[in-house]
Symmetry: C2
Subunit: 289 residues, 2 copies
């Protein structure tokens, strides 16, 4: 869980990061956890407005905030919010909804919609694809504040699964950040970009390269990462125009996506993920008033 | 580990199945484990020839049997065998090599090469693609007893990984063999066949279908299975000719592959996996004499 206290000028007065997220809390635990964070941020006991986005609004979270249906205008997020009771403090809580898509590929997001509204606020009028790399990479077609369509690729989770639990773990057993990682990444990205339909087959190349060519864990980790990112980008390549694709995610991952986008002949533009969350929360609140 | 005692007429006199395979034995354990199986099969203490294929010849197995390099004639398997010592019995042991591929896609197999030699013996002159579905599905281009090229798809392992460890496990939590499994399988196979380059994105449809459309674990398990098999077949579709593709694997899995091959407009022909192993071991021995 990440939290920020924002003053009347819109500036961040204080912030907090903890592991007290949805995965560790039962519904009854949320009010006390939020009060604790408010105290830590210096707004405990006040009647501050609290805007929440992400998994707290999931069915397994605090209080379910029903999805908006894409295509939809993200300025409607606050109007779709739910308001859980805070029995022992004056905090006024709004949990923003996620967005679902029932036509053209069933899909769901929670949290990314707020970042997308923030991006629309920071880059007014942007019209095109946005990439949000991560555990579940989201690709959204944004038209101003409207989300027209989106998809989800299990790119990051697949890397972790294969590294931790699959037969490939034997090839990734050792220092993963060695000097050959970069070379492996390029080789994997090329294979992913050129043969995305053969991901199931190319994955096994990690093991073969380790057994036959003596590739070390650093090369293999780079290859696996590049292969997955290259495959992810190839699947979305024909929806990318001439504008740079905004990349919302951790700085390191956004740089890797930018590099592979360049290999595919298109441009990427890393955007700070915290900036767009904050801009999105502010824009959601402004749209509600 | 599976073992058969074969008499002078080539008939199976007795057989044995146990969990005492490579994964549970250190190199020093193999002789005693083999003696125990020989006793169980009624050939203990004899000077019987023992032919072994599979992971016992891997570097982490009993004694490494260096790979033959594809393309290669599989009648050379016995000539490439290694012969570990049996300190306390007269068994004469040959561990057959696997096959590797250094050009045109690094790859390795151990065990499947013996089944392929067996297929060549049961279907003399077969010239075309062979599919061996399983944890790691092998696709081999066979020309008589020659293996020209092969690839490995992590299809079966991917199903297990996603079912057990990924976010999709939440959608697969419950009875997987319910009435909707078949419908899910068809939907997944269609998606895999039509959009194999988008596997990373289509996987997430399992979760979305569960959250949005209320699909149960049986439908989701069917969809995941169909999606992976459809994607695997699509990646190999343009190497399939007009002959039926021999399918070597468990009967249930071979039937699923046959069904999806039919959806792709081609034919499959399940072949009993035990028959081809036995035929392969006999053919390897015959080629050595």
């Amino acid at each position: 869980m990440r939290a920020w206290a924002v003053d009347h000028n819109g500036d961040v007065a204080s912030s907090s990061t903890s592991d007290r997220g949805m995965g560790k809390l039962s519904p009854a635990d949320f009010p006390a956890a939020l009060d604790a964070v408010a105290t830590e941020l210096g707004v405990g006991g006040s009647a501050a407005d609290v805007l929440i986005c992400g998994m707290a609004g999931a069915r397994q979270g605090w209080l379910e905030a029903p999805y908006l249906d894409a295509p939809t205008d993200l300025r409607g997020l606050a109007a779709g919010a739910v308001h859980p009771a805070m029995p022992s403090s004056g905090l006024r809580v709004s949990i923003l909804p996620g967005v679902c898509q029932r036509q053209g590929g069933e899909n769901v997001m929670r949290g990314e919609e707020t970042q997308l509204l923030g991006l629309a606020s920071l880059m007014p009028g942007y019209d095109g694809l946005v990439c949000m790399p991560g555990t579940h990479s989201k690709w959204a077609l944004l038209h101003g504040t409207r989300i027209e369509h989106f998809s989800t690729a299990m790119t990051g989770e697949m890397f972790e699964l294969l590294k931790t639990h699959s037969v490939l773990r034997h090839s990734l057993n050792g220092p993963l950040d060695g000097p050959a990682r970069d070379e492996g990444f390029s080789a994997g990205a090329e294979d992913g970009l050129s043969k995305p339909a053969d991901l199931l087959g190319q994955l096994f190349r990690v093991r073969a390269a380790s057994l036959l060519a003596g590739r070390g864990p650093d090369w293999c980790a780079g290859y696996l990462s590049g292969l997955l990112i290259g495959t992810d980008i190839a699947a979305n390549r024909n929806r990318i125009g001439t504008d740079a694709v905004p990349l919302i995610g951790s700085a390191g991952l956004a740089r890797l996506y930018e590099r592979v986008l360049n290999m595919a002949g298109v441009k990427g533009q890393p955007v700070d993920a915290t900036d767009v969350v904050l801009a999105g929360l502010k824009a959601a609140r402004a749209a509600a008033n």
